[in-house]
């Protein structure tokens, strides 16, 4: 472990924690503009978090410690995920602890805990949300894994840092497998982050909500942590996408100058990506929950085809 590695690791975590709500605010702003509404301020998510942290937490009478612990676990998982994804640099001391498969496992761990917590109070909407979340999860998780495998076949590695280094150094050619994987990844990220067309982050309409149903019983600091974790998840997914499909600009080992440059590049990429996401959300309509399995199965198949293509064409 080098000193610079430790610095970039710390920088990554702090940046993820601080920037993640901003990304959410940015997307909301674009959504509002695209829908001809006046937008809330860019810093609205921070105000929201501050307000929630200040409020007292109201917990159901019979809720178990699992219910109170879950927000911290979910938050911890997402923070770790942001630490192991190479967002700024590929010289990360924590990265060997978890490769691409373990990263998917980490997301699954968070999902299982949030679903269990939603079932804990035993309300009808909580259990409904848990079921839907797990339904999306069991289709999205293998699809995400296949996307990552397509990239690992090219780099002959499942280590995220190696994948990014390999992909950043290849010649600028279009890999058919990566194109398919890119489409699949976009679909999976929409589903995993509760965006339109799978879920609507702005809705509380009982029968259609998924993510909101899961966290319905939470309030105060617990809710704040979960909202923060959700924005961290979106940040993590965006960074995975950028690292796999647009890896240029991420610093490598022993390159302090590149590390300095990596931050503005990342912010620029995220800003463009966020605007595109808002556009995508505005242009599509939310689909019925029964259609979601088909949507995700398509993503899964696309990712598998991507992997097949990469084997057929040899990378």
């Amino acid at each position: 472990m080098t000193g610079l590695g430790a610095v970039s690791q710390l920088l990554e975590i702090v940046m993820a924690l601080l920037l993640a709500p901003l990304l959410g605010g940015w997307i909301n702003q674009w959504r509002a503009w695209l829908q001809n509404r006046s937008a809330p301020g860019l810093l609205q998510p921070y105000r929201m978090l501050h307000k929630l942290f200040n409020k007292e937490s109201v917990v159901a009478e019979h809720a178990s410690p699992l219910f109170r612990g879950a927000p911290y676990i979910v938050f911890g998982c997402m923070a770790l995920a942001c630490a192991i994804i190479p967002t700024l640099s590929t010289d990360l001391p924590l990265s060997p602890a978890a490769d691409a498969i373990a990263l998917v496992g980490l997301f699954a761990l968070a999902r299982v805990f949030i679903s269990l917590a939603a079932m804990d109070v035993g309300t009808s909407f909580g259990t409904l949300g848990a079921r839907r979340e797990m339904l999306i999860g069991f289709l999205a998780e293998p699809a995400l894994l296949m996307v990552l495998f397509s990239a690992s076949l090219i780099s002959k590695s499942t280590s995220l840092t190696t994948i990014v280094e390999t992909l950043a150094h290849r010649e600028l050619a279009i890999y058919p497998s990566l194109a398919l994987a890119g489409v699949a990844f976009t679909m999976v990220s929409l589903a995993e982050n509760a965006r339109v067309p799978v879920d609507n982050p702005a809705t509380h309409l009982e029968l259609t909500m998924i993510h909101e149903a899961l966290i319905l019983e939470y309030s105060g600091r617990h809710l704040a942590l979960l909202e923060w974790a959700a924005s961290l998840k979106l940040f993590a997914y965006s960074c995975i996408g950028l690292a796999l499909f647009f890896p240029w600009g991420i610093a490598e080992a022993e390159a302090p100058l590149a590390l300095l440059l990596a931050m503005p590049v990342l912010i620029l990429k995220l800003a463009i990506g966020g605007a595109l996401l808002a556009l995508l959300e505005t242009l599509s309509a939310k689909m019925r929950i029964f259609r979601v399995p088909e949507f995700l199965a398509t993503a899964f198949l696309l990712a598998v085809i991507g992997m097949l293509v990469s084997i057929l064409l040899g990378g």
Partner: protein, 680 residues
């Protein structure tokens, strides 16, 4: 001379090898079994003395096996059985590995059983102790057997003792039927194994494994032996379509027995497959691997999809066992593929994944099964639809079970994830296979494994959530009591096993490395020596996983978040009624049921199920909804087969006239035919 006989005094004891100590543990178990017969109804003696002593035997076995894993093979000949046909025993690394699993699981399950068995549940406790310890001893001897004779005798003892354990509550008709089905499939499987040994000895008349190893079989006969072994051991393991007994027998048995059957007995079948494939046959052919892979994946997908829709908690776990067996078979298939193409290091990786999963599944599935036993005793319910909210009155069981559930769902940083990770790694490295067709297959297979793993997570959330979380679905559940001291001890041991397997993969793989060395001639030793906390199967830039760092990362963020929130803000908390979108009339019946949780799976995987539904009409005064999820294999395979057997039996029945004159005529005709044949 058999060493156990020559070892007379304490002095000689110092010269004992591992095998003698193992046989001593077996003798101790058999002694406990005999004592049990003489103390049929003395529950205190059986529960407080016999089972704990048996558990101590398991602990000793675990220690011996750990030490024997690194040692060289040891043999012994015991003059039991027929004259001129003694039992041969042999302890090598493969046997030692399975002894370790048997020992490790039996410690926890015996401790649990000490608090579990009660009076007045069918079979008297002393008899249960007899069958239980006989079952344990026979499993140890199956793994040690070094000739077909000893193997078959022990295999049958294992089947019979477990049959009597399954039918412990023999007055219930369902359990009788389940036991009969189990016995039937076990014996059909045993025929396969017997025939397999017959092929392996290649007309030499010598049924020792040493002779079978020396035989050079032609590809045809070797393939025949493989297929027979797959059939025979597959029937015991529960691969498709021989799985039908498993979801019947496992729920019928008392919970500690289900734990042993699912955790350990199914693994003896895996042992058999490994022994025949890699030790007795030695030169695998590539299509064996393909067949194993296909059968394994079909079994795994079938198992997990069915597990997701079950409403009986023990049936759910039984189907989940089918899933795990399927994963094990597909891993073995991959190891065979690699081995057939001479890629020994890759075969070692796949085989390590298999062995890891054998140990991992043994621990978490035993834990889950004994946990359902605690729930069953506390509530008297197996039906998920009548449970709920138990985390509040049974916090001990619930929290320990959570570890098993997470391990079973294949989540990091627990044991189930490590084996899944290793298996996926070996798939990712397989594009080096020299056959284009196989290479094309690999992504599809990896996708299926990922899907199966994710579905296992779904199933486990349903299992844990419906039993332990939410509100109690019945009034009396509020009075449920937590597990007793012995039960807690047993569960803690098993949970500790899950944790150790999850957090110390490098150390554990170093322990089991001699097994892969023995089976495929390559190990992972050098690759994993790179870092003691990082599991690095090939090279650090290719893949690495450090569960301890992983756990530390999540725990540190947890603690930091907790402290910072308290420090910067506050820790105020108010208890109130649940909000639930402001619905005023909330009751426990409005929660999602087990059926409801399985509904999406029923819809998506509809062709898998044979469903019978009774839907209420809008005008019903007392509407009721019923759905029965059946298995196609019953209707497509087993019922026609049973009908065929019945028809044949009826044809033979025509001969039966019940008049002595007719029977005399039969004898006369037979005699004439025999004479006519002999004369020529």
């Amino acid at each position: 001379m058999p060493p156990i006989v020559t070892a007379g005094g304490l002095l000689a004891a110092t010269l004992w090898v591992h095998l003698d100590w193992v046989l001593l543990v077996v003798a101790a178990w058999l002694l406990i079994a005999v004592v049990g017969v003489f103390a049929l109804r003395r529950l205190t003696l059986v529960a407080r003395v016999l089972f704990p002593v048996g558990g101590a035997g398991g602990l000793a076995l675990l220690g011996i096996a750990l030490s024997a894993l690194q040692g060289s093979p040891e043999v012994a000949v015991l003059p039991i059985g027929l004259p001129q046909l003694p039992f041969h025993f042999r302890l090598d690394s493969l046997s030692a590995f399975f002894l370790m699993v048997i020992g490790g699981i039996s410690v926890g399950v015996s401790a649990f059983a000490a608090g579990y068995f009660r009076k007045g549940e069918g079979t008297p406790p002393g008899l249960l102790a007899f069958e239980y310890h006989l079952f344990l001893a026979s499993m140890v001897l199956v793994v040690l057997a070094d000739d077909a004779y000893a193997f078959m005798v022990m295999w049958e003892t294992m089947a019979l003792s477990s049959f009597f354990l399954v039918t412990a509550n023999h007055r219930i008709v369902e359990i009788q039927r389940a036991g009969y089905l189990y016995l039937l499939v076990a014996h059909i499987g045993a025929i396969g194994i017997l025939l397999c040994f017959g092929v392996l000895q290649a007309n030499s008349g010598d049924y020792t494994f040493a002779n079978m190893r020396a035989q050079q079989l032609s590809p045809f006969w070797a393939s025949l032996a493989f297929l027979l072994a797959l059939f025979g051991f597959g029937a015991k393991a529960g691969i498709l379509p021989l799985h039908v007994w498993l979801p019947e027998a496992h729920p019928a048995a008392p919970s500690p027995v289900s734990a042993l059957m699912s955790g350990v007995m199914l693994k003896t079948a895996i042992y058999g497959v490994l022994r025949v494939l890699f030790d007795l046959l030695q030169t695998p052919i590539w299509w064996w691997g393909l067949l194993l892979l296909t059968v394994g994946l079909a079994t795994a997908l079938f198992g997990v999809v069915f597990a997701a829709v079950q409403v009986d908690m023990k049936r759910l776990l039984a189907y989940s066992s089918i899933e795990n067996i399927g994963l094990l078979f597909s891993g073995i298939g991959l190891a065979v593929l690699f081995s057939a193409y001479g890629m020994q290091p890759m075969a070692a990786l796949a085989l390590t994944a298999v062995l890891y999963h054998v140990a991992g599944h043994a621990f978490f599935k035993s834990l889950l099964f004994v946990g359902t036993g605690a729930v069953l005793h506390a509530t008297g319910e197996r039906n998920l639809g009548k449970l709920g909210g138990l985390i509040r009155c049974m916090p001990w069981v619930a929290w320990v079970m959570l570890i098993g559930v997470l391990a079973s769902a294949g989540l990091p940083p627990l044991g189930g994830f490590v084996s899944e990770w290793l298996l996926l790694q070996s798939f990712l490295f397989s594009p080096g296979l020299p056959s284009a067709f196989l290479n094309m297959l690999i992504p599809v297979v990896a996708a299926l494994i990922a899907l199966i793993g994710a579905l296992a997570g779904y199933t486990m959330v349903k299992f844990f959530g419906v039993i332990f979380l939410g509100q109690p679905r019945e009034e009396r559940l509020a009075q449920a009591h937590d597990a007793s001291g012995w039960e807690r001890l047993g569960m803690l041991w098993l949970a500790a096993g899950c944790l150790v397997l999850g957090l110390c993969p490098v150390q554990f793989i170093a322990v089991i490395d001699p097994v892969t060395q023995l089976l495929v001639g390559a190990g992972m030793g050098e690759a994993i020596a790179a870092g003691s906390w990082l599991l690095v199967p090939v090279a650090i830039e290719r893949a690495s996983y450090g569960p301890a760092i992983f756990l530390l990362g999540v725990a540190a963020s947890f603690a930091l978040a907790f402290l910072l929130v308290r420090l910067l803000y506050h820790g105020r908390l108010r208890r109130a009624a649940p909000w639930d979108c402001g619905y005023p009339w909330q009751n426990a019946r409005m929660q999602d049921t087990a059926e409801g949780f399985g509904q999406p799976i029923r819809q998506i995987f509809e062709p898998f199920f044979r469903m019978e539904r009774e839907l209420p009409s809008p005008f019903d005064a007392a509407p009721h909804y019923r759905v029965r999820v059946g298995d196609h294999f019953w209707h497509w395979l087993y019922l026609p087969l049973a009908a065929l057997v019945e028809r044949l039996a009826r044809l033979i029945g025509l001969l039966q006239q019940g008049r002595i004159a007719v029977y005399l005529l039969y004898s006369f005709v037979t005699l004439m035919i025999v004479l006519a044949v002999v004369k020529q």
